[in-house]
């Protein structure tokens, strides 16, 4: 008889006093519902993915309604839960308005928010990191509270709400398709029409008495302030560039200063972009590395696998040095590298990194081979640096196109020269 009973079994514990933490320890036979889900639907709620495993399978299904295994059952459902949705972890409460309940979001970031930020910075799931568009609140928002407009990229949403501690306000999140304010404004997903649509859809004019929208300054590329009044009855107030200045801006009676209105690109702001830059350069690397290895195999013995391996590793290291120089050093040392064009900055950093690599570790290989390696590092670095233009807040498209017309031919010539010298050097020894 004992064998029929799933072990270990405990008796029921009253539901009320169970700390939430305990539920995470649910045993193998009572799996906790999966939490991951896609954003959309209603603000504060996330649509549950379909078929997230058989519901209620396993021993808990058994005839008796008693928990058969150790951990106690989860606490009762929140009154705000709806069939088909799960509550977002950043929602603290709901406030009733003329348009129904509006989620109040936390102004502090928890572990899952930080982990999400971490993954996004590494370019993992960055293209689909978003919250549902619509109206949210912070603190105790009322009819006179300011309305802060932002994008539905979760990194942006988190940046805004985490800077609003102590503020009573509304956050109107536009459907920018999970793209940050500035890029979305440039792409057209943050636009006058999207803003007007969102104002109307949320019934904002029935929730607040005033008619002002606090707009992110970097959204001005996509939002025409002067069209707003006619199209939705609200007036634009151009807010600060950085979420960190919103509180001060509000405290000053919606007035900004020069400092709030100018973009910056500090070392920290540049360094945080490095992992994504590396991941973008690494994408086409598989093919490049294949070519590098194949070229390394040629030599006096026509084609040798041991040469492919020995020389190939050295060439791959030079390629890696180029990526390090272009995608790490250039962003970090940006203002101090010579030249204004990014491809020139990349040439200098590639020369420095590739040059020191062969000087310190590969001197015995000879001048021809080492010239090839430095040229490879320099070309890769120059290309990676040129690609960093897309991540800066100060490069004009006309300027980027101009430098590319000069930079790309130089990069191609350097690469071809590197390949020729590399194969040639194999015949010298």
């Amino acid at each position: 008889m004992l064998l029929d009973m799933p072990a270990p079994c405990f008796y029921r514990i009253p539901v009320m006093n169970i700390p939430d933490k305990l539920n995470k320890d649910a045993g193998p036979c009572c799996p906790a519902p999966e939490k991951s889900a896609g954003a959309t639907g209603l603000p504060g709620l996330t649509i549950l993915p379909l078929a997230s495993g058989p519901a209620g399978s396993g021993c808990c299904d058994s005839e008796k309604d008693q928990p058969c295994c150790g951990p106690p059952p989860a606490p009762p459902s929140s009154p705000h839960e709806r069939p088909g949705y799960i509550l977002c972890t950043f929602v603290e409460d709901f406030v009733d308005t003329a348009m129904g309940p509006v989620p109040i979001v936390s102004t502090s970031l928890d572990g899952s928010d930080r982990f999400g930020t971490f993954k996004t910075r590494l370019n993992i799931g960055r293209g689909n990191y978003k919250v549902a568009p619509g109206l949210y609140g912070v603190g105790h928002p009322g009819p006179e509270s300011p309305v802060i407009v932002t994008a539905n990229y979760k990194l942006t949403f988190d940046a805004v709400r985490s800077e609003l501690r102590g503020v009573d306000g509304w956050i109107l999140v536009l459907d920018t398709r999970g793209i940050n304010v500035w890029c979305a404004a440039g792409k057209g997903t943050l636009s006058t029409s999207e803003l007007v649509l969102r104002v109307k859809k949320t019934g904002l004019d029935r929730i607040v008495n005033h008619r002002r929208l606090l707009l992110p300054q970097l959204g001005a590329t996509g939002i025409a302030g002067h069209r707003l009044r006619k199209e939705c009855g609200f007036e634009p107030v151009w807010g600060p560039i950085r979420a960190g200045d919103i509180k001060e801006f509000l405290a000053r009676g919606m007035k900004g200063d020069e400092k709030m209105r100018r973009v910056t690109f500090s070392v920290a702001e540049r360094a945080v972009l490095v992992p994504v830059e590396i991941s973008l350069v690494l994408k086409p690397s598989l093919w490049v590395l294949l070519c590098v290895f194949l070229l390394s195999g040629f030599g006096p013995g026509v084609f040798s696998l041991s040469a492919l391996w020995q020389r190939g590793v050295v060439a791959v290291l030079a390629y890696g040095a180029g990526i390090g120089a272009g995608a790490v050093l250039v962003p970090v040392l940006l203002p101090w590298l010579p030249g204004r064009a990014f491809f020139i900055k990349g040439i200098f950093s590639g020369l420095a990194v590739g040059g020191s690599m062969v000087y310190f570790f590969n001197r015995e290989a000879g001048a021809v081979a080492n010239t090839a390696l430095v040229l490879l590092a320099l070309a890769v670095s120059s290309y990676a640096a040129m690609n960093f233009t897309g991540a800066t807040p100060y490069t004009s498209p006309t300027g980027v196109e101009k430098e590319m017309r000069l930079g790309i031919p130089i990069q191609i010539i350097a690469t071809l020269a590197a390949a020729v010298l590399w194969v040639w050097s194999a015949f010298l020894n």
């Binding site: 590329t221 897309g390 490069t395 590319m404």
Partner: protein, 93 residues
């Protein structure tokens, strides 16, 4: 931004001062302080600071500002060269 400057003499920014009605919108939205008010009209004081984001032109109620806006991003421009500007998409930002 005074510490980081890009190429000079390339920005396509043009302001028609005749048309300007002095609403000051361009002086507010420009993230690089390219415009200032000179009397009752706006004036370009730092054309080389312009990154052609187009915020000023979008927010000028009388279309006194023109600029060729776009994405200052190499991978986008390579795509535009290969596939044409209509089919190019910015995949990285």
């Amino acid at each position: 931004m005074k510490s980081l400057r890009y190429l000079e003499g390339v920005a396509t920014l043009v302001l028609d001062r005749e048309k300007c009605v002095g609403c000051e919108a361009c002086t507010v939205v420009c993230p690089h302080g390219v415009f200032v008010m000179a009397g009752r009209k706006a004036e370009i004081v730092d054309r080389d600071g312009c990154m052609e984001c187009g915020a000023c032109a979008t927010n000028c109620p009388v279309s006194a500002i023109s600029v060729t806006p776009g994405v200052g991003c190499a991978s986008y421009i390579i795509q535009a060269w290969i596939k044409g500007r209509e089919n190019a998409e910015c995949v990285n930002c």
